[in-house]
């Protein structure tokens, strides 16, 4: 397993928001071009071909409840972490 699944960022919220904010004001085509540049820059930074392959596989095979329409039915009864 070359791909890290545990947290590798000191400030995950900051990094997530950095990426989201970077898309602000871009139209669809600009977003796509931006994402492509970012992927290539990060792939080179990662450097490890096995990790990149695993990341591609993970992203491709990921089954999103949103995409597959599984998220139907009643609201969860318990709210973890805030109850």
């Amino acid at each position: 397993m070359a791909l890290r699944r545990d947290l590798n960022l000191a400030r995950p919220d900051d990094v997530y928001n950095l990426i989201v904010d970077a898309h602000r004001g871009l139209d669809e085509a600009q977003c796509r071009a931006f994402d492509a540049r970012l992927i290539l820059l990060l792939a080179n930074q990662v450097g490890d071909e096995a990790a990149i392959r695993e990341a591609i596989d993970a992203a491709r095979s990921f089954s999103s409840p949103r995409e597959s329409g599984e998220r139907k039915g009643p609201m969860p009864q318990a709210w973890e972490g805030e109850g």
Binding site: R32, A33, A36, R37, I39, L40, L41, N44
Partner: protein, 552 residues
């Protein structure tokens, strides 16, 4: 149109039609197609003592410049055949490529960063000159029977020969061959007559080749532009050729109207955009084409063998067409010569199939990747391609991803059944069995080169500080039906040794390129491909290696 005067070769009535077919023998080798590949193979076989008959439907050389980039490996092969220096003298020598995005140069590469090699990375020389020089060389050597205006009309394989129906201005005759080699190009008649499927991929984008004659101060550099200001939607490739001819290859896109684009006034408009209002040129040759990658699944079909474009075809970007065809001929020549002379079993030819099918797959893989980069197939691939081009300006890593054609290098014959394997010792940065032996300057009283000394015959190449200590009876211990050259690479001038040819590696370049220490020994095939390597001179292992490499 054009500055080159096409030679016209005489048709000579074949003996089958003058003295009668009954009086003519079964020829050992008949080659179909007097192009780059067929002529290279014919010369190689004739120089190895195997007479060849070459059938060509035409009576001149390649119409149009076509394959122009002749690579170092091709020149090394042609040098062995005695014709490379003439090509180099006439051609345009180059080793550098430049890549532009818009107007900005983003990348520059050198195909031969290290000096000390007999031949440059590339020369550009029009295919018609190459064929003309090869034909003229065929006429200097004994054993090449060139038959122009001899068109193959039928192929009938039998157990011990192949019968070929040939049409001439005097009518049809039948020629019988022990081995028939089809070097008759992308529209191979032999392949068609045998109904062999030629499968692969044709890409949608259209390209326009405009070869023009124009005086220019341009350097001898391959230039490639993505989105240049003079052709803003697509890409352009520029090469210089002999006689002040330029090759410009414009990508036109999928929707282009080929009939409209091939009109001279429309080509001139594109050239005017590129070269400006004052430039003057004459047209040499034009062509509109699509990238195509196809290959036969096997190159050996009984006694019929395919080579060059008849067996495989790739897109031109990367110079993998003509050059891989010459490598086919180089791979096949010595094997066919051994088989015809009875010094190796016919099964040796299966290794040609193995090695060159593998090479063709590699060339198609590389060519398909280049094609996909130059002409992205779907929206996301287009976005990623453009992201690479954008990043290439500022980020060196992205320059390495820009793919305008990965230029040909000799294909490694990996996993060949002909090569000695087993305990391999420790090696750094050294060629492996399947690689071509590196070139380097050597001396044997006068200046020579590895590529001149280790060529055309099996060779044992051993590195030594003490040539006098080499076994003097090596010749006897290696003796067999196959001739084996024994070369001692010595670090001091004046060393000699009974039974060995001493070559002085004055600059130590060959030793360095082969990661050699005293005792290091390579076994090299007649096509300069390494068949085995050892850290000590072991004559028994070498004799085994030769037997294996000869398929015995």
């Amino acid at each position: 149109m054009g500055s080159y005067v096409y030679p016209k070769y005489d048709y000579i009535p074949p003996p089958e039609l003058t003295v009668g077919a009954c009086a003519t023998p079964t020829y050992p080798v008949v080659i179909v197609g007097a192009g780059l590949v067929g002529l290279t193979l014919a010369l190689d076989l004739a120089l190895k003592g195997v007479p060849v008959t070459v059938l060509d439907e035409d009576d001149t050389v390649s119409i149009g410049s076509r394959s122009i980039c002749q690579a170092q490996r091709t020149l090394e092969v042609w040098h062995r055949l005695g014709v490379a220096d003439r090509m180099v003298a006439k051609g345009v020598t180059w080793d550098t490529g430049e890549l532009f995005v818009g107007e900005q140069q983003v990348y520059r590469f050198n195909m031969q960063p290290e000096p000390g090699q007999r031949f440059p990375a590339f020369i550009n020389l029009q295919q018609y000159y190459c064929e003309q020089f090869l034909i003229e060389r065929c006429r200097e050597v004994a054993g090449v029977d060139l038959r122009f205006r001899n068109k193959v009309a039928g192929v009938r394989p039998a157990n011990d020969h192949v019968a070929v129906d040939v049409d001439t201005p005097d009518g049809r005759y039948v020629v019988r061959a022990q081995w028939l080699v089809a070097c008759d190009g992308v529209r191979s008649a032999v392949r068609g007559l045998l109904k062999l499927p030629y499968e692969g991929e044709v890409f949608d984008d259209q390209f326009l080749i405009a070869d023009i004659r124009m005086k220019t101060a341009l350097p001898n550099i391959r230039k490639y532009w993505f989105y240049p200001p003079f052709h803003p939607d697509n890409s352009v490739l520029l090469h210089r050729q002999a006689d002040d001819v330029l090759r410009i290859d414009f990508q036109l896109g999928r929707e282009a109207d080929a009939d409209k684009e091939r009109k001279i006034e429309n080509i001139d408009r594109r050239l005017r955009m590129m070269f400006g209002p004052d430039a003057q040129w004459e047209h040499e040759w034009t062509s509109i084409y699509k990238f195509t990658c196809r290959m036969l699944s096997r190159f050996v079909h009984g006694r019929v063998i395919f080579a060059g474009d008849a067996a495989h075809v790739v897109s031109p970007f990367g110079a993998r067409g003509g050059n891989s065809g010459v490598q086919d001929a180089d791979n096949l020549g010595w094997k066919l010569a051994l088989v015809v002379k009875g010094d190796a079993p016919a099964a040796l030819l299966e290794s040609y199939n193995h090695e060159r099918v593998q090479a063709a797959r590699e060339n198609i893989r590389q060519s398909t990747r280049s094609t996909d980069f130059i002409t992205p197939k779907f929206a996301a691939s287009h976005v990623l391609r453009d992201a690479v081009l954008d990043l290439a300006r500022d980020f060196p890593f992205a320059r390495a991803m820009v793919n305008s054609g990965r230029l040909t290098r000799p294909t490694r014959c990996a996993d060949s059944p002909l090569h000695a394997t087993g305990a391999d010792g420790d090696w750094a940065q050294a060629p492996v069995p399947g690689d071509v032996l590196p070139d380097a300057p050597l001396a044997n009283g006068s200046r020579t080169w590895a590529t001149e000394q280790v060529a055309g015959r099996f060779a044992v190449v051993t590195f030594t500080d003490a040539p006098q200590a080499l076994p003097a009876d090596a010749a006897a211990r290696l003796a067999g039906p196959i001739d084996i050259e024994r070369l001692a690479i010595v670090s001091d001038a004046g060393g000699s040794s009974a039974g060995w040819t001493a070559l002085h590696d004055a600059e130590g370049l060959l030793a360095r390129r082969c990661d050699a220490r005293p005792g290091t020994t390579y076994l090299v095939r007649p096509d300069q491909v390494i068949a085995g390597r050892w850290r000590s001179l072991d004559l028994a292992a070498l004799a085994d290696g030769v037997r294996r490499a000869a398929g015995r």
